[in-house]
Symmetry: C2
Subunit: 132 residues, 2 copies
């Protein structure tokens, strides 16, 4: 029987740097949760939904009309946005009106635009338009 040792051998060059940074690192679970948050905005249709809801609350089929997708597709995306607590809704009869949970979503969206504005001029224009 062969005992495999030296298998933990993660090679690094600067042990001190690795130790220093490791001490302040996110745990796997924490990194996953943060990644989930960004993943929520990592789809063009969800980006459009957030963008639309930054202006005013909208019902599902209006959202579908605005972003050019099927009601069903929008409903699926809204579930994800709800799960990640980016949007909330109120019911009025059989219609559900969706809106952004709070201003942090707005900020997150704009911070993304801010990054893009370094390479795309339309992003800078948008930020002005949206009041940044």
């Amino acid at each position: 029987m062969v005992i495999e040792f030296d298998r933990c051998g993660i090679q690094c060059i600067h042990e001190d740097a690795v130790a220093e940074v490791s001490a302040k690192m996110l745990s796997g679970e924490e990194a996953l949760a943060l990644a989930e948050t960004f993943k929520t905005l990592a789809d063009p249709n969800r980006v459009k939904i957030i963008c639309a809801l930054m202006h005013r609350e909208l019902c599902v089929c209006d959202l579908a009309a605005v972003i050019g997708a099927s009601d069903s597709a929008v409903s699926h995306q809204l579930r994800m946005l709800r799960t990640q607590k980016l949007v909330k809704f109120r019911r009025d009869g059989k219609i559900l009106y969706y809106s952004l949970v709070d201003e942090h979503v707005d900020k997150l969206f704009k911070q993304g635009l801010e990054h893009i504005s370094h390479s795309k001029e339309w992003a800078a224009r948008f930020l002005e338009l949206y009041g940044y």
Copy 2:
């Protein structure tokens, strides 16, 4: 031959709302670009890489040691981060030192944490630790 008409039939309830919001909406291409930016942070290992680089510049194998992934996996992820202009590098001999492009990446990361901090207390602690 059948002419399909009424196929543009996007049903909406509030025409005025749809018209108003549509006028301020991101184009498909713009939404895609923004989604790409968020997608860059939508993976736990990339989140960890950014987190690590917020403290100091690191070479590939040190990054691999810190986040607990293979050199190859980290190199693949760094390519994506480079392409999206979140990280840059300098060469010192055969070693490449990676670092964040600017403070916007830092802000984007923290804005994500800010959102999570509503439901997870560790996120709030992290923000304090990182000076927010």
